[in-house]
């Protein structure tokens, strides 16, 4: 039996699906399902609506709409149980239905991913706890692609960095713990950032909790908690360590789709005039799409898209062209050559494949066209220019005129804030005088309500005066100091002038010059040799000696992490010796190359970073790993983009008369 690789996307999806369907089966008869909007995406990825119908789901409602009707006796709530607000909403609706309805209803609540004590208390005080049967749907990771697992926690960024609410960290730890219980402990947990450290501590703590529970009520066997033989390590990166990567405009195809159209749960809403009014995708649950918008599936399994998605947008035109030519020639030649019936049959058998490819080509050509329109606007080029200047290390004050002009031209506030935050995060704050000028300009241009926006950004450490606030200061010794890009730009080669977008040789291609710091940190752990050669190309022998794969030391990592904000940690997890031996006998020896490296982004990951990590993974696979395994699985609390990061600070209220 071939062992299932750890963190296998299909297995995780399968389990989540099974769990949900079992729960639905437990409720007899037809039922109406009330869904929290934030869960729609995850649900879409896991089950088809038709499957839900087979399991007796009659109609689907959104919790937020508060419009459940009494057409069915059974009412099932499927909601996240961590927020008091959602719990209260559930309680209100149960009360409303009970008051308005003619028949007696049976209520069931599936808390995702767990039932909490607080939710029980709230339901009890609302007087509805007794009437609802409560269960849990342990949904943690949702696979977005074979190598991307996401917790799909929409509020994670806001919770962790603005409200300092550690719920997402706890849930992340739980999710990782479940994987550990299945595939063994992570032999090493390496990471950077204060919240990452917190997550690592939780993982270690939960391990002792599991052992404590084990012998008293004879839980899983001891084998479950020995170091894994298929996982090499877990690398945790705290988003806070590297905000600029999120703030920059992503320049990969997938990244730009996300910037322009916003991808949620592998779907983008695109104006139907762009992609044409073709038949809508079948099997979408709860698609209340208007005639104006059409949902386009950004499918990681689409063969055309796999080559496109991770490429720099500059070469997407060429790739599309090539694909079109190939498609044309293959259909044409086949038509000409199809003389014998056997050949004809062959061709006909391949036809559906061609048609699918053609449809996909058509969609992506129109998407690309739309994005080109967007990237050719004056505002886009101006703001990109500012971004590139700041990242390459130009004096940020030279950019102030451009930013002021953009404010006067009333371009969308998030774009302005991204530029200002970019300057602040890469330069340890903005000079107090300049910052005040910008703040005043923003308030005058976009309204006084953004006093709150600015104050939230300051709380998230995204926008602050230089040296004025204690957190903005940069002395290296300070524990909570910020990431210092000036030395890192050189020591990690964050900026690359000779970037090759058509045939990339470095991850910097995803931002046309800037190599995301977060991915560089990961590289300094798992791809030391290549990185060393990149930083010091001249002294080759020295560099490779320094990056000896056997050396456990992490010189590049250690050197760099001095300038990166937050705690650095490197924990080794060992199990009991006997159990370790038993396990290695059972499994045999795995070579390093086949091992999995789990990279966890706490607080979200951008699509450009995913592309960069895939690039690293491909290189590693070619050389069979550089000592730390070669299969990279990316996990995160969610997919984030600049607009989302800024968006959690932006105040939406306004004065009205």
């Amino acid at each position: 039996m071939a062992p299932i690789p750890p963190f296998s996307a299909s297995e995780i999806a399968e389990k989540a699906r099974r769990d949900l369907l079992l729960l639905l089966e437990g409720i007899r008869g037809k039922k109406n399902l009330v869904l929290e909007k934030a869960l729609t995406g995850s649900l879409n990825l896991l089950v088809k609506f038709s499957t839900l119908q087979e399991y007796g789901v009659d109609r689907l409602f959104f919790l937020e709409n508060d419009n459940v009707d009494s057409s069915q006796r059974n009412v099932v709530f499927l909601v996240r149980g961590e927020k008091a607000k959602t719990v209260m909403a559930v309680a209100e609706q149960i009360k409303r239905i009970r008051r308005d309805s003619q028949i007696e209803h049976e209520f069931s609540i599936f808390w995702v991913p767990r039932r909490t004590m607080v939710s029980d208390q709230l339901l009890e005080s609302a007087g509805v706890l007794g009437e609802a049967s409560v269960s849990e749907w342990p949904l943690f990771f949702v696979p977005l692609a074979d190598d991307v697992l996401s917790l799909e926690l929409e509020d994670a960024v806001k919770d962790i960095y603005l409200r300092k609410d550690p719920t997402s960290i706890y849930l992340s730890a739980k999710a990782l713990m479940l994987q550990q219980q299945k595939y063994g402990l992570f032999p090493r947990i390496i990471g950077k950032g204060d919240n990452a450290k917190r997550l690592a501590n939780l993982l270690i703590r939960m391990r002792t909790e599991v052992t404590a529970g084990e012998s008293t009520n004879s839980g899983p066997s001891f084998l479950g908690l020995t170091p894994s033989s298929t996982i090499d390590s877990l690398v945790i990166i705290d988003r806070e360590v590297d905000f600029p990567t999120v703030l920059l405009t992503q320049l990969t195809y997938e990244g730009l789709i996300d910037e322009v159209f916003n991808i949620t749960a592998n779907q983008a809403e695109v104006d139907s005039s762009v992609v044409g009014g073709a038949a809508p995708q079948p099997g979408q649950t709860g698609s209340a799409s208007t005639s104006m918008k059409r949902k386009v599936l950004i499918d990681p399994k689409d063969s055309l898209y796999t080559t496109l998605g991770d490429s720099n947008f500059a070469i997407v035109g060429n790739l599309l062209n090539k694909a079109a030519r190939r498609l044309q020639s293959s259909t044409e030649r086949n038509q000409l050559a199809a003389k014998t019936t056997a050949e004809l049959r062959d061709f006909v058998a391949k036809l559906p494949g061609y048609q699918a490819e053609q449809a996909s080509l058509k969609i992506h050509t129109s998407l690309a066209e739309e994005i080109i329109k967007h990237t050719h606007t004056d505002i886009f080029t101006r703001s990109l220019e500012v971004q590139q200047n700041i990242m390459s290390g130009a004096d940020p004050t030279t950019q102030h005129d451009t930013i002021t002009e953009l404010i006067s031209r009333d371009i969308p506030l998030p774009t302005i804030l991204r530029l200002l935050c970019l300057e602040s995060t890469t330069n340890a704050g903005i000079r107090p005088k300049d910052l005040e000028t910008f703040k005043r300009a923003i308030i005058q241009a976009y309204g006084p309500q953004h006093l709150l926006t600015l104050s939230s950004l300051e709380k998230m450490n995204l926008l602050q005066p230089r040296g004025g606030s204690s957190l903005g200061a940069m002395p290296a010794a300070k524990p909570g100091s910020v990431t210092n890009y000036t030395p890192l730009r050189k020591s990690l080669r964050l900026w690359d002038d000779e970037v090759n977008e058509a045939d990339p040789n470095d991850i910097s291609y995803v931002f046309s010059g800037y190599a995301p710091l977060s991915v560089r940190i990961v590289q300094s752990i798992i791809q030391k040799q290549t990185l060393a050669n990149l930083i010091k190309p001249s002294s080759n022998p020295q560099a490779s000696a320094q990056a000896n794969p056997l050396a456990q030391g992490l010189r590049i990592f250690d050197d760099a992490s001095k300038y990166v904000r937050g705690a650095t940690f490197d924990e080794t997890q060992t199990g009991e010796e006997k159990a370790v031996k038993a396990r290695s006998m059972l499994n045999g020896n795995h070579s390093d190359g086949a091992k999995t490296v789990v990279v966890f982004f706490l607080g979200g990951v951008t699509r450009a970073e995913i592309s960069a990590l895939r690039f690293v993974g491909r290189k590693l696979r070619d050389v069979g790993g550089e000592g730390r395994g070669s299969r990279i699985v990316i996990c995160s609390t969610g997919i984030v983009r600049g607009e989302g990061l800024i968006g959690c600070a932006v105040e939406s209220g306004r004065f009205e008369g």
Partner: protein, 247 residues
């Protein structure tokens, strides 16, 4: 016994507590790794602050909320604040939940901790929530007053911004009255559904005034709020272009 896995210290501690030896029980509970079992017992033994610390250590927000709810019911407000304000995680959670449910609690919290900026921001949030101008202005005044004793730069900035906001709203109110007749003829700006001027930013107000041809008033706004000439020129350019577009 220490270091041996599988010993349930919770049970031992419970036994000790039932024997009346609270201190011993607390000592023993330190060895219990499962916070889910430790915290309820500690609450039962009335070791509230220890329970809170253990809950925070566990990272499980559900447990933390559980302890907090318990404490909130039990303690007088002032001592409740004293317990949480040395623990950042607890404070953050109280703030988060209070923001949705209990604004007055939040006001008291900020007042006791002397967090003036947060307090004034809260009042600003409330000002935004009003749907008539009068109460909005009152709240703004309060928010500004809240800061009058603070001397540091951010508070001064915030104060002047709040005062500017109030001034702008009053001017907008006047425009609304004076220019009411022309209101019907002009196309309303998208987003401003109920009124022509109230709620717009300073730039948007100038833009709207220029587009409707009230250059004098627009210049008054520019002087009042010291808007740079360059910006004003941009606004004028855009306004004129759009005016021609519409007529």
């Amino acid at each position: 016994l220490h270091g041996k896995p599988g010993v349930s210290f919770e049970e031992i501690a419970r036994a000790a507590y039932e024997e009346g030896r609270v201190r011993l029980a607390t000592e023993l509970l330190n060895y219990e790794p499962r916070a889910g079992k430790q915290v309820p017992l500690l609450l039962g033994m009335k070791e509230d602050t220890i329970a809170l610390d253990k809950a925070i250590e566990s990272g499980d927000t559900d447990l933390i909320y559980h302890v907090l709810l318990h404490l909130r019911k039990k303690l007088p407000l002032a001592s409740f604040f004293r317990v949480i304000n040395t623990r950042p995680v607890a404070t953050a959670l109280v703030e988060t939940s209070a923001h949705d449910q209990d604004r007055d609690l939040l006001k008291d919290l900020y007042y006791q901790d002397d967090r003036r900026l947060d307090g004034s921001n809260l009042l600003l949030t409330e000002a935004l929530a009003q749907n008539t101008l009068g109460p909005s202005l009152d709240k703004l005044k309060l928010a500004s007053k809240y800061l009058q004793d603070s001397r540091d730069a951010s508070a001064t900035f915030q104060r002047s911004a709040l005062d500017d906001a109030a001034k702008l709203l009053r001017m907008q109110e006047t425009f609304e009255k004076d220019l009411a007749q022309s209101q019907s003829s002009a196309t309303p700006i998208p987003g401003a559904s109920t009124s022509m001027y109230i709620g717009l930013s300073a730039h948007q107000t100038i833009f709207a005034l220029l587009r409707a041809g009230h250059t004098k008033r627009a210049q008054k706004i520019q002087h009042e709020f010291k808007i740079p000439d360059k910006t004003y020129t941009w606004l004028k350019l855009r306004a004129l272009v759009s005016a021609r577009h519409w007529t």
